[in-house]
């Protein structure tokens, strides 16, 4: 509130100064206090610590079998694909896919038998049923999304392929989920 002097000119007063200074301090303070409130909603240290890598022994997984494991509380499918399933996944016309990705970009080199994908539908997170749907990959019972034997979306409302968690082969029969292999997988050429 600028005072008007006898000459009619406005002049900054101490009240103007107080208004701006208080307002600025209040605005900065309010913004600063919002941060911890929001950040506290994020995964806490316990949850992050529980996300340590998990080892999965592949030896007992029979041909064609899908096993479910958890990493960071998220479901992961480990699928021992049959030669027929691998062949079907590889011979697909990529241009026809909603989220084009060659099968080779979704498995580790030389390990095409093993498909490791997150087990929640990319639509709204339900667990798709294995060996079901048109392509006998997965079928989501919630809203009808269809995945092929490479975990790629082929129909329904899901926008993306089942994502691949970071994992690495520690031996021929053991993978470690949560740790990326040193050798990067083949570039995901579209």
């Amino acid at each position: 509130m600028a005072a008007i002097t006898a000459t009619g000119q406005t002049k900054a007063t101490r009240r103007d100064f107080m208004l701006i200074a208080t307002g600025a301090a209040g605005a900065v303070g309010a913004a600063a206090i919002v941060w911890p409130f929001v950040a506290s909603m994020a995964p806490d240290a316990f949850v992050i610590a529980a996300g340590a890598p998990v080892d999965v022994d592949l030896a007992p997984v029979a041909d064609g079998q899908i096993v479910k494991v958890f990493w960071r509380g998220k479901l992961v499918f480990v699928r021992n694909r049959t030669p027929k399933e691998i062949e079907e996944a590889e011979k697909v016309n990529l241009a026809s896919l909603p989220d084009p990705q060659p099968d080779s970009a979704r498995v580790k080199e030389g390990k095409a038998k093993w498909l490791v994908v997150f087990g929640n539908c990319t639509h709204l997170g339900c667990v798709p049923l294995g060996h079901e749907g048109t392509y006998e990959g997965w079928f989501c019972p919630c809203h009808g999304s269809v995945y092929d034997t490479s975990g790629r979306v082929r129909g329904g409302p899901a926008p993306l392929n089942l994502p691949i968690p970071p994992y690495t082969f520690v031996s021929d029969t053991k993978i470690r989920i949560g740790e990326e292999s040193k050798v990067p997988p083949k570039a995901a050429a579209a």
Partner: protein, 425 residues
């Protein structure tokens, strides 16, 4: 016929002493005793009172349940079972609370559709209507989070599906979902925060209800003719007329409520929710509670993730925009022959969407859901704006009194007492 002074006059010395320090009795008197009520209100106007009762009932039963419930993912399911089996009358508290949510939504849907039929959203009641939409949104959030708390299969997967809706938001979606979950999937942190919010939101609803009633008492109630109160003879005092009628309707509604609680307490729930949450298996057929089914059907009707979420949110946004989408100056559908038919068609579409939402997303159900979803939006975006331009309304009555008595005259509130609805809070 009982007559009240139109303003509160404290009689005892204490009342005078108190009133001069806090005019609470005067506020109650002007709001709930002398407040002028259109004399032609039907029982459709009792649902406001029924809803206040249901909110109070949900808060009371909820607070009592919270004394026994444990919001921890390893204990939540068992604590609910303990409430059912071990806690004295725990089964009653839980069935009252679970069925109470459904009763709350039955009442609110009647309340909303009554508003849509009689044009209660039109000037000067836009703010009143918008506050109602906010209450509806808060109710949906509260009901959703409450359903998660028993931590059964439907709780878990309902929480997963609904929180994943936010992942459809471009760029920040995944961050928002992570903040909702407090983890990398729905888990204990999610359950904890949902419990905290489920406890908080009803009190926020109560706050908005106060604003809703305040706005109502500024602009006055609509009525079946849509014609405003023009003289005192159009109105009767809130007490005893509306008070008794509201109480009677509430008691009848409570009987209806009790029938569900005592005879079919699980009919509106899902058997799957008596199976403890299992993050490795989704129930074969996952559906939300009945009151969300129309919106769920709209979500699934769109074969695109973001598009589905936008359509579902848009379905509620339509309600918020309705005061400006409806171009007709006539409020009540009783005097709008075309709108009246479209209104009932719209009701049928909403019920049909609800039914479709409960069906699996395949074949003819999907096609029907798409047709109904299209009609839902056509109703708001095309029919409501165009009807106001093309429809010829029937002649409106000169006054509320004329429709009630067929003549002028009669006795009700002293003339002038209710010439204008109270502008006091």
């Amino acid at each position: 016929m009982s007559q009240h002074a139109t303003t509160y006059v404290p009689k005892s010395r204490f009342a005078k002493w108190f009133e001069s320090r806090l005019p609470l009795a005067g506020l109650v008197h002007s709001s709930f005793i002398a407040f002028p009520v259109p004399r032609n209100l039907t029982y459709f106007w009792t649902f406001g009172a029924i809803l206040i009762f249901m909110l109070a009932a949900q808060i009371v039963t909820g607070v009592w349940l919270a004394m026994h419930y444990v919001p921890q993912s390893n204990l939540a399911f068992e604590s609910v079972e303990a409430i059912m089996r071990e806690v004295n009358y725990g089964w009653l508290l839980r069935y009252l609370h679970a069925n109470g949510a459904s009763m709350f939504f039955i009442a609110v849907y009647i309340h909303i559709f009554r508003g849509l039929y009689y044009g209660s959203y039109k000037a000067p009641r836009e703010i009143l209507w918008l506050l109602g939409v906010i209450i509806f949104l808060l109710m949906m959030a509260t009901a959703f989070m409450g359903y998660v708390l028993p931590w059964g299969q439907m709780s878990f997967w309902g929480a997963t599906v609904i929180t994943n809706l936010f992942s459809a938001i471009p760029l920040v979606g995944d961050t928002i979902v992570s903040l909702l979950w407090g983890g990398y999937s729905v888990g204990n942190p999610t359950l904890n925060r949902f419990f905290a919010l489920h406890y908080l939101l009803p009190f926020m609803i109560a706050g908005v209800v106060v604003l809703h009633i305040w706005a109502l008492h500024v602009v006055g109630q609509n009525n079946p003719t849509g014609v405003p109160i023009k003289s005192g003879k159009d109105a009767i005092p809130f007490t005893p007329y509306a008070t008794i009628k509201d109480m009677f309707a509430t008691i009848v509604f409570v009987m209806f409520f009790a029938w569900w609680v005592f005879f079919v307490p699980n009919y509106l729930g899902h058997a799957d929710n008596y199976v403890p949450a299992n993050p490795a298996v989704t129930p074969a057929h996952i559906v939300p509670e009945w009151y969300f089914l129309p919106f769920y059907a709209i979500l699934r009707a769109i074969p695109d993730k973001l598009g589905g979420v936008i359509a579902m949110v848009g379905a509620i946004v339509m309600l918020a925009l309705v005061p400006w989408l409806d171009t007709s100056r006539v409020r009540s559908a009783n005097y709008r022959p075309l709108y009246r038919q479209f209104f009932w068609a719209f009701c049928a579409v909403c019920v049909l969407l609800g039914w479709l939402g409960s069906k699996p997303p395949e074949g003819g159900y999907v096609i029907a859901a798409r047709v109904c979803t299209a009609w839902y939006f056509i109703h708001f975006l095309l029919i409501l704006p165009l009807l106001g331009l093309f429809e010829t309304p029937k002649p409106l009555p000169a006054s509320i009194l004329e429709t009630v008595t067929g003549r002028r005259g009669g006795s009700a509130m002293p003339v002038g007492a209710a010439a204008a609805p109270s502008t006091k809070g």
